[in-house]
Chain length 476, copies 3
Amino acid sequence: MKRIFYFVAVMLLTLQVQASGKLDKLSNKSKKCMECHQKTSPAIVEMWGASKHFRGKVGCYECHQAQATDKDQFMHHGERISIIVSPKDCSKCHSHEVKEFSESHHAQAAKILGSLDNVLAEVVEGNSGFVTPAFPEGNSAAAVNGCWQCHGSEVKVLKGGKLDPATWPNTGIGRLNPDGSRGSCSACHSRHKFSVEQARNPENCGKCHMGPDHPQMEIYKESKHGIAYYANKDKMNMDNGKWIPGQDYNAAPTCATCHMSATKDMPVTHDVGLRISWNNRPAVSIRPEVSDKKLGLPGQHINWKTRRKNMKNVCLSCHNGSYVDNFYTQYDALVELYNEKFAKPGLKLMAAAQPLLNPVKFSNELDFIWFEIWHHEGRRARHGAAMMGPDYTHWHGTYEVAKHFYAKLIPKLKKLAKEAMADSDAKVQKDGKNLKKVIDEVLNQENHKWFLGKMSDKERAKRKKNAEDFKKRYEK
Amino acid sequence: MKRIFYFVAVMLLTLQVQASGKLDKLSNKSKKCMECHQKTSPAIVEMWGASKHFRGKVGCYECHQAQATDKDQFMHHGERISIIVSPKDCSKCHSHEVKEFSESHHAQAAKILGSLDNVLAEVVEGNSGFVTPAFPEGNSAAAVNGCWQCHGSEVKVLKGGKLDPATWPNTGIGRLNPDGSRGSCSACHSRHKFSVEQARNPENCGKCHMGPDHPQMEIYKESKHGIAYYANKDKMNMDNGKWIPGQDYNAAPTCATCHMSATKDMPVTHDVGLRISWNNRPAVSIRPEVSDKKLGLPGQHINWKTRRKNMKNVCLSCHNGSYVDNFYTQYDALVELYNEKFAKPGLKLMAAAQPLLNPVKFSNELDFIWFEIWHHEGRRARHGAAMMGPDYTHWHGTYEVAKHFYAKLIPKLKKLAKEAMADSDAKVQKDGKNLKKVIDEVLNQENHKWFLGKMSDKERAKRKKNAEDFKKRYEK
Amino acid sequence: MKRIFYFVAVMLLTLQVQASGKLDKLSNKSKKCMECHQKTSPAIVEMWGASKHFRGKVGCYECHQAQATDKDQFMHHGERISIIVSPKDCSKCHSHEVKEFSESHHAQAAKILGSLDNVLAEVVEGNSGFVTPAFPEGNSAAAVNGCWQCHGSEVKVLKGGKLDPATWPNTGIGRLNPDGSRGSCSACHSRHKFSVEQARNPENCGKCHMGPDHPQMEIYKESKHGIAYYANKDKMNMDNGKWIPGQDYNAAPTCATCHMSATKDMPVTHDVGLRISWNNRPAVSIRPEVSDKKLGLPGQHINWKTRRKNMKNVCLSCHNGSYVDNFYTQYDALVELYNEKFAKPGLKLMAAAQPLLNPVKFSNELDFIWFEIWHHEGRRARHGAAMMGPDYTHWHGTYEVAKHFYAKLIPKLKKLAKEAMADSDAKVQKDGKNLKKVIDEVLNQENHKWFLGKMSDKERAKRKKNAEDFKKRYEK
């Protein structure tokens, strides 16, 4: 009976919040929380005091309250609470944002962790040595401290509502929560201020979008956009409720500006993929509707042209149409260059090499070489072009791709083929011959024949003439 | 007739601007531009509204106006304009700055693009697949999205005044403009505020001066100079017209402070080379007057001692003379160490290896190894020492140089020599013997004989004694 | 007599400062200094004018005064001064801080320079070509511009009180000063403002704590802590005298917050090791009391549990106990994974390889490979986990460790063993067999047998089941 009463009370509270957007006064339960926490962990209480939640009288209890049926509930000084405030909890007030987020790639980020191919962190780098109460057979500490911190853990609840230490602390964006919801709003809206201002800072995205395989943060810093931001941060009006470029600020865009925030024509979105027209994650870039379909997301019905139109709408706040169109022509050309010259031939070469390699993934040096070409360097080139960071496009990108393709991948494949052809086993001989054939095919492609010294006289002459014409330009 | 009238009107306008430094009121033509652009691309208009151009009544039309003879002119809502505002256009008011800039290395930055040796981005990484109206035979998207964005494109005008998408958007510092002028003022003075404040931010230079081959931005951040800047940015008085260290600010220098801005004794300069006493770009560092001569620049008559004196004048704003002199002694010693121990022997070794290598450049792994030793790592060491970033000098610099010299270059050259000496071809045998001889000569130099285990007993004893003496220091 | 009088005067001055914390008025001697220096190096005088020293009337002379017995004293416009203001000088007023600092690892930083093993910068990268008056036999410019700038030089005084250019400018944290004291307060409290505010900036620590071998600065930037700092720098109250998290600020911690500054329960410390519970410097992580014992520091009596308790006290300003405890469980697991899977087997493998390697250190490629595994990549993994930068833990850390262990170290050791076993020399054969045996032992360990394709069916089944269970999670 008490339970039903309690449930109704919570429902009423919820409705009240949804209706008015704020509560009349801070609840006595929240006041009680604060009495202790002001002493034990004062900074949390202060941060909350600087938040919009404070102004709306949404206190500790309103977010941390739990029901007896919640997996992670426990009694704490007479109140039933849980540690994790999940997107489901947040959706009581922020249902629109949570719905959008739930339809995004972000919410699916933990999916890679359950893949059989997730061999790197679990097997190659790791072991099963990190034994915790919820995982008597152990986890890999490399996965827990690495992958899971960005992709999200599957949070496991221990007796008494405590959380398993392999799975929490964790604010990975695709976290699987005890209540079945996905994600972690505090991945971007950090505790306990939860400010939109901080989420608009580029560094916020940089917790995960950085490093050798997706250096978006580094590229942004190199780009004109980042330069303008760091020079003008104090003019960015970052804490404004409405935050529309050309209305509320004009000095620079941040990640949020282009990928999430409102323009004069478009609303805010928490589905970060809706303005992205290439998915540069795979070895060969694909269109976002294709990857959305694989993940079963509603975005499968929103094609890349619509998404590009969305992004152009942001661009046009500060740039003219021909600028924006020309930019996309440049970017598309780079993606195509990488796809056609390196990614597709690379996949073909590695497929031909496969029968000759040790079947255990990442036990061959070639596995690492190819993996870095597409997963690290090829992405850097494409992301660099997407966000106009020329050094990432070239020196960290296409230069590294080409260097490792010609000076590592090809020589090592050649050696593999040669040794196989000299093998006594007929099957191996045959696989070696086939690999040799594929290498020859690839190197004789228009894109690669320079490597064989087969640049045509015509082409050589053209290159020479271009250079001469160019030099004349300086004699004017 | 109308044309002459128009021309005279523009001349008068120009003279008026030059005479007074500002116009009386915003022109009707500019007002008309704004009527639309406030709606279509509002942030541009707002940025301009925050600029000194606004205060001087220099509006859209004053900069974007074109003459019928301009290659890139087109009619836009009844007015003849062009998209690109070139240094020549800017020089109508800022003639002194443009003249200085035109005499700098910056203005020559696109020159590398027309080199026959510019094989990396065009051939190795790229292809001719990026076909645009102005380039039916195509360009390399790696060059367009990479090199050209810093070095500058040769802007091509299409019918109707539109710009070819391979060549624009582009704000490369050495851009070749349709009107024959070189450079892009907005490379540093970003549209549409064109502020000197932003150009004084280190990030502004960091668009190009970063990355594996010239990490000036990263080195600055590591240096005491950068540390002081980021701690005290709000005390830097960055938007002051006059900006003299020791008068208008004192907390830290930015790139501009040392390389461009005024001191109490020297004026501002837009020729960034006038305070630089080493050119660390080539494999072996040279003096700037030598490279200026190669480029036909007036700087050929300004020797490195004068330039160093200029830089010391900046240093003395905050440091004493003995500090500055000692710093240069340290820096020079590092340049000499790199030049003598690695650069000169490296060139000699590669010259001896050349006849045995595949003649197609960058088709040998050794091409990449040697290229990175001097072009990436050797520069990092020298730039690191120039700007006092010890980790760039050592870990990213001399450590990488030495590692690749001894653990990559030498072993691969030895193998090449050994295989050649065993070859059946007499010419190859001879080249192999010669390479072997050069390797032996290099490794027996005082600098390298440690590698052969030939450190003399005397030297070994000296090293031991030094270590013992040093340890005693801790026993005090 | 005059000398004694002078000495007494200085003592009185010193006492006066210590007693009152400030002087009554600026001394005439300091006024005299300023008369010139305001003209010759104005920024120094201005910075001092913004310092607490100005408010306390501690001027140029009070710090730079010297005694006739000081090694580096010289007469300058009639006053006996020295250039270097050492920690001993600073201790006249700041005795407590200098004492703490002197007991820290920081004060011992130059110790590595006198090591016989300090072969990299002196021999491999360098030579003895940097000859200066104090070093007629020369130093390595790579050491002077690299190592010494962070670790500290041994400052040598030339005739007339000038300082040898190889040894100064230098603000290395472990500098050996002419007066016998160690360290350089201005390493962190930069001249001539000496502010605590700047020392609280993360960039301040980043002068040395960055780069491939200890990227603490980069990790901080990736972490939630750094993100919150950069978003909220203006709310950090950085120049407050008292600076206690949860009292004076709450937005974010900087390096100083966690490692040095006061909490509501703990005082400030200038011994940065007192809150660190792992020493991740060596190949295998050890406890700080162990390394303190090696260095003869008083910290040998403070065990890691006490230090961890100290750090947890900081964490609790913003986090709850279970959060903090769980974090440490994650961190410890990563350290153990690295130690057991890679560091200990790596040391064993290299010991077995040693007799077969060229005895000259760093003349074998294997020397570099193993060195980077533990000194660069293994540290990045451990530091990344310590400070919650998941990309540094994984992509820059364990991924690189594993890649180089399996794709470089093991194959090259195998080749070495194989060649040795085929050698005609019996001793070499034996060493080869032993190396082969150790390789086999290591690869057959539970941690490594995946590499041999020996993952058990049970384990494979478990991995498969886990993946399937995980996928079901998404079907809910």
